[in-house]
């Protein structure tokens, strides 16, 4: 069809306001945003769908937890079978093994950061806002973490039901998850996996805003800051009766779970706020 034909057709159907909305009978574009439905919330759910659209992303967390748990159990079984050690001793050693915590956190966060980093411009191009993309990612992190935590708790429950997989080995019900109720294990796992992804999203936002150099500087800066803060705290507490690190740890005695979970919780909250503040002012060329 020629341009002239297009022109003719436009003349017949034209006259619509911005984008021909009047022609289709939809709400016309008006000055400002008044009179138009707020598409924000729906678009955040659309961003969530964007992250969820590849099913393998969502199953990576639970999958990796199952694989790592199986490997941990296999290592425990090999140790038990190849040594004179008692099952209780091997099991006790396994409860300090945190590979399931690390891998359950790292694999999903790598996928999420990649999805946000590579997908931001595509999502914005499809009419989403930064707010949609960011909070969609946070919701996705929450959903994914809940699923991973659920898989983990199911494994813990099975381990308890089978009395250590019929070998007396505790490969998944580790000290990190509290060894208490399944609910508390689920909450600890959820907090860990979600927190790791939120902190990772902070650095993704820094990368998107300031590039590779900004990311490197922020990681080095965070490391230096942590060392300095720890140094100051240890130095300050070294003069107490117990001295040094042990004195520092007593600081959290009044807090449920101790100091570390609260410090990590604060870091996650700061990352959540900081990440959004950085991301919302990023430009994408």
């Amino acid at each position: 069809m020629s341009q002239a034909a297009a022109e003719d057709n436009r003349t017949v159907t034209g006259g619509a306001g911005a984008g021909g909305s009047r022609r289709t009978g939809e709400a016309p574009g008006v000055a400002g945003t008044g009179g138009l439905p707020d598409a924000g919330r729906g678009r955040t759910m659309l961003a969530l769908r964007y992250y969820l659209t590849v099913p393998s992303r969502l199953y990576t967390g639970p999958g990796i937890v199952v694989v790592v748990a199986a490997l941990s159990l296999a290592v425990g079984a090999v140790i038990l079978g190849s040594s004179q050690a008692e099952a209780a001793d091997v099991s006790n050693g396994l409860t300090y093994n945190q590979t399931v915590v690390w891998w359950g956190s790292i694999a999903p966060l790598a996928i999420l950061c990649s999805a946000v980093g590579q997908g931001t411009t595509a999502m914005l191009g499809l009419g989403m806002t930064r707010r949609n993309v960011w909070w969609g990612a946070i919701l996705y992190a929450l959903v994914g973490s809940a699923l991973t935590a659920t898989a983990l708790v199911v494994l813990i429950a099975l381990e308890r039901l089978t009395h250590g997989w019929f070998m007396g080995l505790s490969a998944i019900d580790i000290i990190y998850f509290g060894r208490g109720s399944l609910l508390s294990a689920w909450l600890i796992a959820l907090g860990t996996f979600f927190g790791a992804q939120v902190i990772a999203l902070l650095f993704t936002a820094i990368y998107l805003r300031a590039g590779a150099m900004g990311l490197t500087l922020s990681i080095v800066g965070t490391a230096v800051l942590l060392v300095v803060v720890m140094g100051i705290l240890i130095s300050a507490f070294s003069r107490s009766e117990q001295g040094g690190v042990s004195a520092l740890l007593t600081l959290g005695e009044g807090l449920p779970g101790g100091l570390l979970p609260w410090a990590l919780g604060l870091a996650v909250l700061l990352s959540l706020a900081g990440g959004w503040l950085i991301y919302r002012r990023a430009s994408f060329r």
């Binding site: 069809m1 020629s2 341009q3 034909a5 297009a6 022109e7 057709n9 436009r10 159907t13 034209g14 006259g15 619509a16 306001g17 911005a18 984008g19 021909g20 909305s21 022609r23 289709t24 574009g29 008006v30 000055a31 400002g32 945003t33 138009l36 439905p37 707020d38 598409a39 924000g40 678009r43 659309l46 769908r49 964007y50 659209t53 590849v54 393998s56 992303r57 996928i111 990649s114 999805a115 590579q118 997908g119 411009t121 595509a122 914005l124 191009g125 499809l126 009419g127 989403m128 806002t129 930064r130 707010r131 949609n132 919302r280 002012r281 430009s283 994408f284 060329r285």
Partner: protein, 338 residues
Amino acid sequence: MTAATTPWGGASPGREAVAEAPASPEEAPAVVVRGLNRRFGRVEALRDIHLELAPNRIHGLVGRNGAGKTTLLSTLVGQVIPSSGSVEVLGGRSLENPAVLSRTVYVRDHQCYPDDMRVHHVLGIARRAYPRWDEGLARRLTEDFRLSPRARTKKLSTGQRTSLGIIVGLASRAELTIFDEPYSGLDPVARGVFYDRLLEDFAEHPRTVIISTHLVDEIADLLNDVILLDDGAVTLHESQERARDRAYRLAGPVHDVERLLERTGSTGRVSRRQSVGSMTMVVVAAPLDAEAEAAARELGLEVEPVSLQEVVAAMGTLSPLGSSPRDTGDAAQEGAQR
């Protein structure tokens, strides 16, 4: 803020362009840009841009590499935050405004998608994003471009990735549809498919389309309006027909051509010159007025219109901050295509 100048002597090209931009009073502009500036460190990517784009037309954004086309387009949809100035799209501020952005689609050159996504994932999300999405058109275009819905986006060639963007852009039927260099890696057949489908669909579903490109002549017939961006400033914003009149070609004996250029004060407006023996051909980046035309006829010189590509090249070559006019060869055109 830098006040840009143009080869035509206007101190504020954007404002001049706005004054000339075609927009009937009853139609609210689809895009209104006022005093837009954007800096990236020391680089002034956009300088005092003033634009009004009429709705339901196809606008061509042309300019050399690094002229600021992508930055301008990204700013329109809020992906780049302006250093100063204002941008209104479809009647509202576009930056972080879901009511406006949900009615736009922006297809980037070399659009990046997460590695694990497949073509059908991208199309599925786009389908949910746009209420006026045309699934039939998307399917037809997928077949036309020979894209496999199961293909992973990271495995797509540059041309296939471009095709995917075109499908999303056309099938979305967004009120403001923006294509940034929608030709990367596309073979001539695929480009033909794009032009045909764009015109067909535009005729049935008019909307505001902005296409940025280097291939000016190839899409010239698609365009209603032309916006020329040079070194971050708008140096031309006119209907395509009027834009073509911004330059002309003059050919004849060297002596006579030089005489005419001197008489009309156009010596400094020569953007391109080719000489063979005693004959020369020049492209003059200025409108041909009646006096110059009469003088040319009197001297027996040939006066011809030039293509839109040559207008763009001529104006780019004569930009105050661009390179100086070349004496021989096709330098201006090469520059525009580089």
